[in-house]
Point group: D2
Chain length 341, copies 4
């Protein structure tokens, strides 16, 4: 019989929280203890997420630390800023935690202040956070008490770049990433700029040069590769609900063949169950939507030293809830793909 753990989700009414519940309900090794939400507390979960009727009857609860006493793991799916004060409480109570916010991804509190526009008030909790990118930090994640889940854009930028930077194939100072994201990346929003009429049939770049994922991309790539990687990153908003399409440009540091690139990816990802490398076949977003896969392809431009990488993910799954469950699977020695195929 399958081993079971008990989990709770704080922030269950946001888009990432709902996706997390969706995955956890299909997971053979999980029992959901409690779902927490603030403004919807007291309502049934399936009232705020009617797609779940007949699948779950839990009532959203106001969080308090006693209510997670029975939980082996707590997912925090709150906006950045709110996790900052909550995670330390959970850690003080000895809980294992996976945090989906951006609050514990940057080890440098100065960078955090610069990009998140607030002081980091929990440096001790920060110091024990393990960055939850399973393809690179699986060993640390397996024993981690506290995992900080990666951002959606960084997942789509770091995974295609890391092998090529590490192998010295790319010039790490030449990298430019253009990302296109669906609107759910902005969370459940009532800002007029995310209303249907403002987004539909349009496209716009945003937060150019100031997006909070820029330092995450740079520092994690540097941590993995040992090289300075001042990636230029430009996000764009598309009229789709889910998904990220990332196109990355870089200069080759040496002359390479297609097979060299293929070998570099094989060396690092051949046993990674959610990385699908398609060589020179260009990925399409629709192939990863509703999945935990990242699809990666590339193109060597004719007569140049230029490589273009393409990577696609579902921002709510591999970019958030799915990757969080992948981390949970590692932390509790479940099969890495459980609940995710």
């Amino acid at each position: 019989m399958d081993k079971k753990i008990h989990v709770s989700v704080i922030g269950a009414s946001g888009y990432s929280g709902i996706e997390l519940v969706n995955i956890l309900l299909r997971h053979r090794n999980v029992t959901i203890d409690n779902l927490f939400a603030h403004s919807s507390a007291g309502k049934r979960f399936d009232e705020i997420a009617p797609a779940f009727r007949n699948r779950i009857s839990l009532i959203l609860d106001e969080f308090s630390i006693e209510k997670v006493a029975q939980s082996d793991l707590v997912f925090v799916a709150l906006p950045s800023g709110e996790a900052l004060t909550l995670v330390p409480q959970l850690r003080a109570a000895g809980k294992r935690v996976i945090d989906l916010s951006g609050d514990f991804r940057l080890k440098d509190t100065n960078l955090y202040k610069q990009y998140y526009k607030r002081e980091h008030t929990a440096p001790e909790t920060l110091s024990e956070a393990v960055f939850g990118l399973p393809e690179w930090f699986a060993n640390k994640i397996r024993t981690a008490q506290f995992v900080s889940n990666p951002g959606c854009y960084p997942t789509s930028v770091i995974l295609p770049l890391a092998p090529l930077v590490k192998e010295g194939i790319l010039d790490p100072t030449s990298i430019i990433a253009n990302s296109l994201s669906g609107v759910s990346g902005a969370g459940r929003s009532s800002l007029p700029e995310y209303s249907f009429c403002e987004v539909n049939d349009s496209v716009r770049a945003y937060k150019v040069g100031v997006h909070q994922h820029i330092p995450e991309i740079r520092t994690v790539l540097e941590q993995i590769t040992g090289k300075s990687t001042p990636v230029i990153f430009i996000p764009h908003l598309l009229p789709i609900t889910r998904g990220i399409y990332t196109t990355i440009h870089a200069t080759l540091q040496k002359s390479v063949q297609i097979s060299d690139i293929e070998n570099a990816y094989a060396a690092y990802y051949s046993s990674a169950p959610f990385v699908r490398f398609s060589s020179t076949r260009i990925p399409e977003l629709k192939h990863v939507v509703q999945t935990n896969f990242i699809d990666i392809g590339f193109s060597l431009l004719p007569d140049s030293h230029h490589i273009v990488l393409f990577a696609v993910i579902d921002n709510l799954i591999k970019g958030a809830a799915g990757q969080a469950v992948q981390n949970m699977n590692l932390m509790f020695q479940f099969p890495e793909t459980e609940g995710l195929l």
Copy 2:
């Protein structure tokens, strides 16, 4: 040389107001005096509507009655409730007015209270309002001081029905109208239910049995045809920005041929420049988007006494700003199609 009138628009920053400015800028007989908006007052119009850069340099102004002193006509494009207090001021100052809100469409103030959830505080202004449906009330509109512009749904329901009800072809008590609308019909909104992620890839009926356009449809049809027409009307929200698709069912009151239906429409609309009757060819929404046309088609079902009518409009043009300009053209003896083709 073309005769010119001066006009002002109150509520120029909403979707209907912006569309109105778009049409008026192309109109050979119009000079725009002032554009009024409340929360955006002081900003350039093209700052809140950047699509208009290089086309207009006016600054949005806070409304006061003195500022329309030079205007021959004032358009009111405010939400229902706000027009209720403003239009009487304009009329007291002797201004000709076209009001795009729902505040002066229902002659019966009890119906207004029931469906709009407020008291009608301007019954005298109401009594002089002419319903601005040019295909049926052109003579009154030509001399009107105050025109109340029809609702978007009612335009799409009344125009296809009126000839057949009037001619006794349909049973007026059997009518069922299902309408599908783009999201711009809800105006510029920051409600979460109109956010991209909530609307995209979905459909929902709403305000079933209580939509404020129900009494407008019924009373105007009765006024035109002299018959009681208790139309059942169900609106639905679609993931498109603009347009209304209306499908109407009714029982035939007598045996008819296709040519009888064609003759009935020809009798009333053969000289109506914006009614395009396509007989048994089923209309498509895309053919009217960005135009002031209403396309009407029908189908006589085999082996039955049932007729289905189809009508499509752009809710912001024939359903709002375009029809308002069509009314202006009648009021000032301009060609009916000026600015609208």
Copy 3:
């Protein structure tokens, strides 16, 4: 340990076929033997459906009867017309079959000829077909050798109507159904009318009075309720990929309360795992997309004898592949929801 059956899918490269593979891969009691496709034979399944990379490595095969020798069940996901000649072969070989086409849904071969525009060449196979609507024919399905899976529109029309017609609440001669469908209902198409630019931002009714699902709706409702139900049905095409929104109008045959309607649905569907009745809460399409649920709601209009029913499904799941697996679950005594939650 779970009992396992072996299945094959003929027509695995169409949208319904692909969806079927998606569900079967998650089903604990199924091993897929063979996937058949004609024009793609010889290619890997995940080449024509790259979303499945890392999930399945089967190669699409050209069908021959010997290749299903080991299969306990064969799904036929071919266009109507092609199943007509194939299913008899499978039955002659003694195979249990679930056919997703329209070829074996109409017991009256004259109706088939009228609506499908061809002769029915397999009346004997037709005579043994069980209509695969689990909520009404579960007992027959459990022992069936050959199940004809319902059409997508009929599923969305029959399920909400059957209890109310059977209970004598509705006038069965008054029923009008307006359905809105996503484009995947047309299958994988290269017709220009289904190109992105022709469909996007538009809506159109189609096949008015002649849609092949009309006789299916009428005859199955009559079979269930014992009453003549000459339903009027109008399909519309929407710019969405998946889903059907059906709005049904009918006249009440007697005075009813909300609770009467609730009781009627409870009497027939209280143990149906995929029917979610929401009483007077109006369903939204997004809540059923990617699921096997049908959501049903209703509205009693004020001051009238008119009821409006609303039903939503995912056309590829409850309207095709999901319902087929639900039928399989009944045929092989698996839990009815296995693979479908």
Copy 4:
């Protein structure tokens, strides 16, 4: 009274051809003589483009050279390859021509062969072609007998780059352009890859390194600036109907302030009626859809020598039919904006 010219359109049933008719119908100085189409010859134009009912009653005609005898100007809106043989006929007959295809944009016939995969069979006609980018070649266009209208992508790439390259602000060897295009850019297509279900909710890069607009971008930029500009260009397909969003990266060649960039654009475009430069305000696609404007903005990234340019156009207007009419306005001394505001 306005001077009038007579024009004909060859290829009037494609998306660019239809858009051209739309603009020409609103143009005060134009009478349309003939609309030509091959497969739709004999049908009314408004039968294949029902949005034009009540606006035009012309019948599509099979082209022959005699039928343009009265035309002062002929627009050719045929696919590349077909214009190649037709334009020489028109020129031989002494007609002024604006060709919207790609057949006469590349002066180097070897490049044409490499990217268009066919021999260039009309080098003499090619030699007289003037590249129809009004912001840079107005003087030549005014007297041109034959104008080759620019491609949609090149318009969106060349216009933002030219001033900065010419002024030596950018390193011309560092330029990377990522473009996102709506589906109408592919023309009226029945390829399955452009069907609604394949495009909706997805994104994909395509023709990486081999797109036929690459040499057009490079050679025209070099012609304008006198510098070698080996632009890297990656097109992507988006689920929208109209519009191109282009994001361009380049390295600064010298230290600049925002005002330096502003001055560079002002120097070249201050009197260009369709270039809207918004400085550091990032453009949005929706502001140019249905217009002939190009909106250009930029961002100087903090702490780097990197500039990002953003440009948006409507691919069917500024990227095709609108720019063609702008060229016509220059050729016939009409106001440059006539028909286009």
